[in-house]
């Protein structure tokens, strides 16, 4: 009996397993290439997708050049009671969420944490948020205007970043009357002065063929953003992924996109939420402004003083006046002096402290003002004068 022959399966099996692991993505990538489209056509395609019904899993990765902290025991990775830890988690950790969408007025997002979950459920004018860790539920009734089917998903895979000019962002009532093509034209006009736009159609996201809309700032080194890639489903026009690359960093600084998607209508029961017994329920009536993803932010938003915006395009700097960030105890951003952790992350600069990430710079002035921009720290400092 030859011993070597008996060892053969033991050697072959790992080779086959590793081979399958390597080969599987290669097979999945073999999606057919859709016909070429211009940037305008792609943007028009996006605008048609507002009534789509789908469900899928969204993954968010961040690599902002911040230190990564080990996740300790079960359930401690996200949603800690400390607000700073929560923000840090948001900035440094990866997140997975499930999204269920049935048209413009029914959405549900579940942020999947380890043995925990944060939910936002919208059913018409009624919005619920629920956090399984704190057992807190918020009920927000949208005003008639904002709930009338503005086509603005309260939440979604596309972040509300004005720089990227995605139609999923802050749509104004005026824009609602425009056709998708007009909307696309406007968007292109708005971004072309500051941005090179290119379209490719060879990639795939979540197993679907997509158009990749690549936005490259014309401003060069004035901004930290190297380029932004928006992947749009070729068949439905649904944005499937956004990737933001930072200057001088190989890994994507920020990406959020579908890892799987299914274009069948989710069960209607998913959008009917009844708070569980034992949960603390708070009721709010939302102002006309579009609610944001953060459940805490919505009720407080009106109380904040108005920020000052300087510059346009990629090197815009936002200045938040004193008091805007250190309002109530429930504020997600505690003042810098209160948090030791924040002290460790920031560096001292004349007149305050600065936080430099690969995509965003924050200047915390001693007088309480905060400057934020996707620009080098030096630009923020010069903006103070």
């Amino acid at each position: 009996m030859n011993k070597n022959v008996k060892w053969l399966p033991a050697i072959l099996a790992p080779v086959l397993v590793i081979g399958a692991v390597v080969a599987a993505p290669a097979v999945a990538r073999a999606a057919s290439t859709p016909p070429d489209k211009t940037a305008q056509q792609v943007l028009a395609l996006i605008a048609t997708a507002k009534d789509a019904a789908y469900s899928g899993t969204v993954e968010q990765h961040s690599d902002l050049g911040l230190p990564q902290l080990p996740t300790a025991g079960p359930g401690s990775s996200a949603g800690g009671s400390d607000a700073t830890a929560q923000i840090l988690d948001l900035l440094t950790a990866d997140h997975t969420a499930r999204v269920f969408v049935d048209g413009a007025s029914k959405q549900r997002v579940q942020v999947l944490d380890k043995l925990a979950e944060r939910d936002v459920i919208r059913n018409g004018s009624e919005v619920w948020t629920y956090d399984s860790k704190t057992k807190k539920a918020n009920r927000i009734t949208l005003s008639a205007r904002s709930s009338a089917g503005s086509g603005t998903p309260i939440i979604g895979p596309v972040p509300n970043d004005p720089d990227t000019s995605t139609p999923g962002g802050s749509a104004t009532p005026e824009l609602q009357t425009l056709s998708p093509a007009q909307l696309a034209d406007r968007a292109i006009q708005a971004i072309t002065p500051s941005t090179y736009v290119a379209v490719t159609s060879t990639a795939s996201v979540a197993g679907r063929a997509v158009y990749e809309l690549e936005l490259t700032p014309k401003t060069g080194s004035a901004t930290l953003v190297s380029h932004v890639v928006l992947s749009v489903d070729a068949a439905t026009g649904l944005p499937l992924r956004v990737v933001v690359d930072a200057r001088g960093q190989k890994a994507d600084a920020f990406s959020v996109g579908f890892s799987s998607i299914d274009f069948s209508t989710p069960a209607a029961s998913l959008f009917r939420f009844t708070p569980p017994t034992g949960a603390t329920v708070t009721t709010h009536t939302a102002p006309a402004t579009s609610p944001t993803k953060k459940p805490h932010a919505a009720p407080n938003a009106a109380a904040h003083p108005k920020p000052t915006v300087t510059g346009t395009g990629w090197d815009t700097i936002v200045e938040l006046p004193a008091g805007a960030t250190a309002t109530k105890g429930s504020s997600p951003t505690p003042s810098a002096t209160q948090s030791k952790l924040l002290d460790e992350l920031t560096t001292a600069v004349p007149g305050g402290r600065a936080l430099q990430t690969s995509l965003l710079s924050v200047l915390l002035l001693d007088d309480g003002r905060v400057l934020v921009g996707s620009v080098p720290i030096a630009s923020l400092e010069s903006a103070v004068q």
Binding site: K3, K6, W7, L8, P9, A10, I11, L12, A13, P14, L16, V17, V21, T57, Q68, L69, P70, T71, A72, G73, P74, G75, G79, G80, S81, T92, A93, D94, R98, Q110, L112, K114, L115, A116, E117, D119, W128, Y130, S132, K133, T134, K135, A137, S260, A267, L270, F273, T274, P275, P276, T277, G278, A279
Partner: protein, 282 residues
């Protein structure tokens, strides 16, 4: 001259060895003690919560704060507490003992001379460890639900998503959870069985197996190693929470099944390669 029939005799049951293995495993005092220790986890949790009536939200293991309102959560809390250490410890003991234990007793040579067949013996031994994994997770969940129902009020269960389910759905999800947790341990059991073929010292195999589970969990907690995280056999151990979402998130179930299968194939093959070629000299 008496001549026994070499062909399979009528009435021979091919699964007799598996039955014998399970009977031997579960009649063993050590096995019973380990299952007893696992049953103690939910009991201690329930009593501690009952006595102190502590339910401070956000502190302690997941689901702990739910217990006072619904005793059915004791089983889930106990699972959360047991998965990092107690479950791998007990399964490491059983899996590390599979071949090395027989070798150290010397009974391995008699099983092989019987003849049990090396492949069949290895398969039966691994199945024994797998059945123990199921029993271990079932004990935690079932005892937890039982003690919870005894000491606390019970009622409809709130899922992580905030939705509420009834008794039938809860029973189904508890069963699925037992299935998920035991499945999560199958790859680990395969590693333990392979290590067990390498030595005749069962304690060494058990220790090495348990240390691997700890090492894998430590690696899983280091963000610097995030590239290897999806390949760690412990990576999806806590994803049993996905069964408490609405709707159930099957992604982790499927992903974990594939991952565990990969570990079973790789370490199973290594164990077969090792065990079918090695000289049994103990």
């Amino acid at each position: 001259m008496s001549r026994a029939e070499p062909a399979r005799a009528p009435g021979a049951r091919p699964f007799a060895l598996l039955g014998s293995e399970l009977a031997t495993l579960f009649r063993r005092r050590r096995t019973i003690a380990m299952l007893g220790a696992l049953a103690l986890v939910p009991i201690l949790i329930a009593i501690a919560v009952r006595v102190t009536s502590a339910g401070s939200s956000g502190r302690g293991p997941a689901f702990l704060s739910d217990i006072t309102q619904n005793g059915l959560f004791v089983g889930f809390t106990a699972l959360t507490v047991s998965i990092p250490l107690f479950l791998p410890l007990t399964i490491g003991v059983v899996a590390g003992d599979t071949i090395a234990g027989e070798a150290s007793l010397g009974t391995l040579r008699y099983l092989l001379v019987a003849p049990a067949g090396r492949l069949r013996l290895l398969g039966v031994k691994y199945l024994g460890a797998a059945v123990f994994a199921i029993a271990a997770s079932a004990v935690i969940v079932v005892v937890g639900i039982g003690i919870g129902a005894l000491l606390f009020p019970i009622g409809p269960v709130t899922l992580l998503s905030g939705d509420t389910i009834g008794a039938g759905d809860f029973a189904l999800r508890a069963l699925l959870m037992i299935g998920y947790v035991s499945m999560s341990l199958l790859g680990f059991a395969a590693i333990g069985t392979f290590i067990s073929t390498l030595t005749t010292v069962p304690v060494g195999a058990m220790a090495a197996t348990v240390v691997l589970a700890a090492a894998s969990q430590i690696m899983d907690a280091l963000p610097q190693l995030s590239a290897v995280h999806p390949w760690l056999f412990t990576h999806d151990w806590f994803a049993f929470g996905d069964l408490l979402r609405n709707p159930i998130s099957w992604d982790s179930y499927a992903q974990n099944a594939v991952l565990q299968l990969g570990y079973i194939v790789v370490f199973g093959s290594l164990a077969i390669g090792r065990f079918t070629t090695t000289d049994v000299l103990s």
